[in-house]
Symmetry: C2
Subunit: 282 residues, 2 copies
């Protein structure tokens, strides 16, 4: 194999959240010359770093859903491609990309099975109180106060999936053997899907014990899980969110949980990450 000098490797600008050390970096480094502002020494702002490399950058790698705004794009006049390592595109100003003819890719369905696994894990955690039980034992309360509260069965629970895309379908497949009754909401009824369809999220909530949120975040779906929807789910209802935080009106969710008007929530995402409402940790 001919050795390629590092300077001859194609240039890729990296855009990632602070402290997220992406594990596939070493795989990329053998094929690309990575320019990463977070590696710069002395430390340099994204703005200054991007501006300094503006003339040579054609490709931007976006690790995790790190925001790519119109302002940020304006620093890179010759950009042709944004490669997203995550699912979703709500963190990228797509309108600006379309205007400038910048191609955008994302991870597509690659993570769907893993997200579905986590969704099921969160549902079991909330119903069967796994992490709550862990805290109880860890705090020494088992010996002190006796057995922990019993949880709730998965069998027979009516689970409404909000958005039956690739993640939602993977979740349904996993939950059926638990004896859960699946139904879903999506813009259109899917002819090939055997589960009952509800034309809006409110009706889905009225007819289910659990709402499992995994639809795409768009301007239309922001706060799709509103106070009304959560109230319709009822005080024994459970909400699991593996989509994006802003799909739920988080302030209202927290209030309902604090007042005992929902049984529980399993949240992989929050509205203002990494800030998490402290009321969730009583």
């Amino acid at each position: 194999m001919a050795t390629v000098k590092e300077e001859e490797l194609p240039l890729v600008l990296v855009h990632r959240p602070p402290n997220f050390h992406f594990p596939f970096k070493h795989l990329l480094q053998t094929h690309f010359r990575l320019l990463d502002p977070l590696d710069s020494d002395p430390p340099e702002s994204t703005h200054s770093f991007f501006s300094r490399h503006a003339a040579s950058v054609r490709v931007l790698l976006c690790v995790d859903p790190t925001p790519i705004t119109r302002d940020l794009l304006s620093l890179l006049p010759f950009l042709q491609l944004i490669v997203g390592s995550s699912t979703g595109v709500d963190h990228i100003d797509l309108q600006e990309c379309r205007r400038r003819i910048i191609a955008v890719t994302n991870a597509g369905k690659a993570f769907s099975p893993d997200v579905a696994d986590l969704a099921v894990g969160l549902l079991i955690d909330v119903l069967r109180r796994v992490s709550a039980g862990f805290q109880y034992v860890r705090a020494g309360l088992w010996a002190q106060n006796g057995e922990f509260l019993l949880g709730f069965k998965l069998g027979g629970k009516r689970v409404g999936i909000v958005g039956l895309g690739s993640i939602g379908a993977e979740i349904a497949k996993r939950l059926e053997p638990f004896g859960c009754a699946i139904s879903y909401n999506s813009r259109r009824k899917k002819p090939s899907v055997p589960f009952p369809w509800f034309k809006n999220v409110y009706d889905l909530a009225v007819n289910n014990d659990v709402l499992l949120v995994c639809c795409t975040l768009t301007e239309e779906s922001r706060h799709i899980i509103s106070k009304d929807v959560m109230t319709a789910l009822g005080k024994e209802g459970v909400i699991i969110n593996v989509g994006r935080g802003a799909l739920i009106d988080e302030k209202e969710l927290v209030q309902l949980l604090v007042r005992g008007e929902l049984r529980g929530a399993g949240l992989d995402v929050f509205e203002n990450e990494p800030d998490v409402p402290q009321e969730l940790f009583p």
Copy 2:
């Protein structure tokens, strides 16, 4: 409906762990007169309470796997039936019951789906670090240190089930849609089961990434998950126990976890409940 005086209801003596307020008590009270030493006022020891009611007691209700020893049975000379509310019978001196011709019942398969649900929940928890992630967020480390460690996929994991009874079969059914490869160990190969069978737990461990322990606890199966078996599973191995604590050599398990010679364990049970080894909470 004719009213029956409480004194005319059949008498049932209750044996339960302190602080375990069994939720089906009110259902029983309409049909039986319950004698419960833990309800006695002033407080009275089990020994004294049982002795005092010895002449009239024919039926003992055992809530949770509360130990029923030969000594305890000797206090109840006219006992004819022990009704167990839990699965398993390892907490009851069966030999003595056989000698005295006392019938023993238990919950049979009634809880198998629920135990299987929890087993899957614990496996997802360990691999995808659900409760560890919860602790991380709760401690405010997300904002401070950035993203939490990534976990491990369920898809493709080789899961060896120790004891393919009703619980084991329910677990296998649930894990298949996650893309796990199932195999099992049981005394005999089960002709109707499609999964590979290993004739001992050591071979099962060598050929799997996860050991899922759900066999019955007997003198033969005590510490069936020995240091050798756990070492054979290897440092990327995971152990889930939803059977009884004494199926695992807990001291060795703790040592292997502390030394990083196992990836993790999801434990619903411990050897000396409610005492839990503190090394598990670093």
